[in-house]
Symmetry: C2
Subunit: 242 residues, 2 copies
């Protein structure tokens, strides 16, 4: 049975060569040790190198068709929830970058980015709920297929988050608990000011509720913790190899 991941012929050749250097040195040393004949040891070593180089390559290619012992990292869905401007995306980007740096498959899902692809998604409770559930479904399908997901959505409703949690295997809810006062003080995108002026409706924290998570795996207050420290804390909750 062939696994989904192929190894190239070049890899088998590379391994055959690196192993030959090791193996031939060992054999030559052994023959010399027993016979103390340098010429004989060198001849056996040279012949062995050629013969086994070919044999090793064939052996590697054969194992390429064997699934046994090939593991995939067990992934997780890291779900950032919190008010607009709380710092979700900044920390999510750092966690995502660290996963990629370690060689994991990872996908970044950002609520605003996905909304920009589907501009018809509105901000009523039903529309927000559907948006969260759909992104959660996407996250769970990626997770089922071996991909780490780093999602950041305001996701203000407990019900919607619980639905997403129920779909995922390793669900790590990260509540960025930066207070409304602090978010409004920062107001990086000027959205709070617009919401206060009534130019934006159904704005979470102003005229739409934010239901604080009660069962988040990680809680981070960005007025207390740096981005790096937050990322370290979140990564420590994930099933990563050392």
């Amino acid at each position: 049975m062939t696994g989904p991941y192929r190894e190239s012929h070049a890899r088998a050749i590379g391994k055959a060569i690196s192993w030959r250097v090791l193996g031939t040195l060992a054999t030559t040393f052994l023959v010399w040790l027993f016979t103390r004949q340098v010429a004989l040891a060198a001849t056996v070593g040279a012949l062995e190198a050629i013969m086994k180089g070919v044999l090793y390559y064939a052996h590697e290619r054969g194992w390429n068709h064997v699934r046994f012992g090939r593991h995939e990292a067990e992934p997780a869905v890291v779900w950032f929830t919190g008010l607009s401007g709380s710092g979700k995306s900044t920390i999510a980007e750092e966690v995502f970058a660290q996963l990629k740096r370690r060689g994991y498959k990872a996908e970044r899902l950002d609520g605003d980015t996905i909304r920009s692809i589907f501009p018809q998604t509105g901000f009523t409770r039903d529309e927000r709920d559907a948006h969260i559930r759909r992104v959660g479904y996407l996250a769970s399908k990626l997770e089922q297929n071996g991909v780490f997901v780093v999602a950041s959505l305001v996701s203000p409703y407990q019900d919607s988050r619980d639905f997403v949690r129920s779909l995922c295997r390793n669900f790590i809810e990260v509540y960025i608990s930066t207070s409304l006062d602090e978010c409004e003080r920062r107001d990086v995108k000027g959205l709070y000011a617009r919401a206060r002026r009534g130019e934006i409706k159904n704005f979470t924290g102003i005229d739409d509720p934010y239901e604080s998570p009660t069962d988040a795996e990680v809680v981070i207050d960005t007025t207390q913790v740096s981005v790096d420290a937050a990322a370290v804390k979140i990564l420590s909750h994930m099933p990563l190899r050392s």
Copy 2:
């Protein structure tokens, strides 16, 4: 750099043993060939077996951290479009089963199944269009992460299908062209009868249009082709290893 796919210690041990049997036989034969001394050949063989068994294991574990030469199969999104009852799901299931049997990562996305998870999705043109686009976005994210996608949705609009095509890398549109008459004659789920009685609104083919694809990679008329033959035809369009 560690790759996303790990090999277990047990795999390295298994390979070390299978290689030792091959390698030690070769070395013993070589030493015997040059010295004609059975005892010497056996001793060198035995010592080599122990020494290299350990060395081979270490060599394998070392290569586990090398990415070079590890390929992933390049996946595709196979998108089935056609009228209700045209035979999309039956053929899609067969294609999906064959991909899984060959060891590929694959995900099956069915329009009706996803609608059952998101029952708020309606059947107006806008809602259908959004539904198709969202499933297409999901498909493209899976494809980007190395997963084959076998999707079956009525997906009656050219615009929506074109949007999905634009998101995917290897997009294989499969048009199941079974005629409306034939679909209505079969009427497996009794939906056409209900649509004719006006119990279902916006039913594709009855009171909602089906825009036949003009650029489908594969066209299949189920009155002419068996399920198995259809699957073979579709698989031949996919970037599969032999």
